[in-house]
């Protein structure tokens, strides 16, 4: 989703000394989704950096729910999100435009029929 680097690509070199700040390998980027209250879907609220999923979840709690904004959090590695492209927008979404019979308002029913 963005220019994040992946953390796990240079596995197996744990004993290397920590490099100086420039050129340091970033923690990967995670997208954060918060369920505001029970009954609502999780909604994307932003992103953060964390070395792994466990810490990502905890960082998300501290960064995005300091004011009780949520009852549940998802974190997803940004690299694992596959997104549709704006250039595909026409072929993805426009074909649904003329299928108006999918909407209840398409149908004429007598006004005195209840529970429709």
């Amino acid at each position: 989703m963005s220019g994040a680097t992946t953390a796990s690509t240079s596995a197996g070199a744990p004993s290397e000394p920590a490099p100086a700040a420039p050129g340091e390998r970033s923690w990967p980027l995670w997208e954060v989704f918060v369920r505001g209250k029970r009954g609502l879907s999780h909604v994307h609220v932003g992103s953060l950096h964390a070395p792994d999923a466990e810490l990502a979840l905890r960082n998300a709690r501290d960064v995005y729910t300091r004011r009780q904004e949520g009852v549940s959090i998802w974190v997803v590695k940004a690299d694992d999100v596959t997104a549709s492209s704006p250039s595909e927008k026409d072929s993805f979404f426009d074909p649904a435009g003329d299928k108006i019979y999918r909407h209840p308002t398409f149908y004429d029913v007598p006004e005195d029929v209840e529970y429709l």
């Binding site: 390998r25 980027l29 932003g46 992103s47 810490l55 300091r66 704006p86």
Partner: protein
């Protein structure tokens, strides 16, 4: 017990509590009608989203602006952060920790918005540490007394909100959404600053003197936060025109400065603080307060690096970052080991 019941919680104290905020956060998606063309979307006041086509200069300008904004939040933790251990009451200590924590959070919201433009936070931080990107020059002034925490909240956060509310309807979606969140939270920052000064002004003589001294020192730097004059003759140069056209700047520096002065003068009167400007007076013809000229020589001098705290702020930030390098590296190493272990476990399971 602190006398803050006199501050009416329903009375707007900053721009995030006025209709301007509601107007800025309201947004109607008309993309179906407008189409996907960048210029058309901008012209129709629609949002640009991360994967939309956009001119390189728009992207670069946004990265610079959002990064500078994020850096300001992170560097802005320091002037007040160094008062956490000295806050004069436990209530004040709790509020201050929560506030400085919010500033870290705001920095993160903004870095997150910048990253949607395809740049890594680490790279932005490197640019900050190397002095290649700037942060708000206001944080190069020192916090000399406890009252400075009040003055920063009241004046600096007040000015920041005035700048930020229009950005809640900036053309770039992730930036606008980050700003909505930031403005809502900053409103508490400004209120707590006002309350600090309110209590000081109703306290002992030395407390009142402390509050007045802080206001004397922070008033002009706060006015300078809106940037150099950009109306009339001055409007011909600088980024303002292009940024206005792109919808990443909504009002001129001078307009925002005037709005800020108009909002602050009555609040200063309520506090009992005298603003340090002999030219400050109501102009009935304009329907605004007239005020004196910011010392722009000082502004440029501090911006170029010759302020009381420029070196200190960056050195502090660099030191914290460098001291933490081994921790961040350890977490990466652990994550890599865990990934390898999980892989091996899966191989074992599938072999069995």
């Amino acid at each position: 017990m602190y006398g803050n019941d006199v501050i009416d919680p329903n009375e707007p104290l900053n721009a995030a509590e006025t209709d301007a905020y509601d107007a800025a956060t309201a947004h109607e998606d008309q993309r179906d009608a407008v189409g996907d063309d960048f210029e058309a979307l901008i012209a129709a006041d629609q949002r640009i989203e991360p994967r939309d086509a956009m001119p390189d200069t728009y992207r670069e300008t946004l990265i610079r602006q959002i990064a500078q904004h994020a850096h300001s939040e992170i560097i802005g933790m320091q002037p007040e952060g160094n008062w956490i251990t000295r806050a004069p009451s436990l209530r004040r200590k709790a509020i201050l920790i929560a506030k400085v924590q919010d500033e870290a959070g705001h920095g993160l919201y903004l870095y997150s918005a910048a990253e949607t433009l395809g740049i890594d936070r680490q790279e932005l931080l490197d640019r900050l540490h190397d002095g290649k990107q700037k942060y708000s020059s206001i944080f190069n002034y020192p916090t000399l007394t406890w009252a400075d925490c009040g003055a920063i909240g009241w004046l600096v956060d007040g000015a920041a909100i005035m700048n930020q509310v229009p950005l809640c309807r900036c053309s770039y979606g992730p930036y606008a959404r980050a700003m909505i969140r930031v403005c809502k939270e900053e409103s508490f920052h400004q209120r707590q600053g006002f309350e600090i000064l309110w209590n000081l002004m109703r306290g002992t003589e030395s407390q009142r003197a402390m509050a007045q001294d802080a206001a004397d020192r922070w008033w002009w730097p706060a006015l300078a936060m809106f940037g150099p004059p950009d109306t009339g003759e001055a409007a011909k140069g600088g980024h303002t025109a292009q940024s206005m056209a792109w919808g990443i700047k909504r009002f001129s520096n001078d307009d925002l400065r005037q709005k800020f002065v108009d909002m602050m003068v009555p609040q200063a009167e309520k506090l009992g603080i005298v603003l340090p400007d002999p030219d400050l007076r109501w102009n009935p013809e304009r329907g605004h307060y007239d005020f004196g000229e910011v010392d722009w020589d000082e502004f440029w001098r501090v911006l170029r690096g010759d302020g009381a705290c420029n070196a200190e702020r960056i050195a502090h930030r660099r030191r914290a970052h460098e001291e933490g390098a081994w921790v961040r590296e350890a977490a990466n190493a652990y994550a890599a080991k865990q990934a390898t272990r999980e892989q091996q476990q899966q191989q074992k399971e599938s072999a069995a």
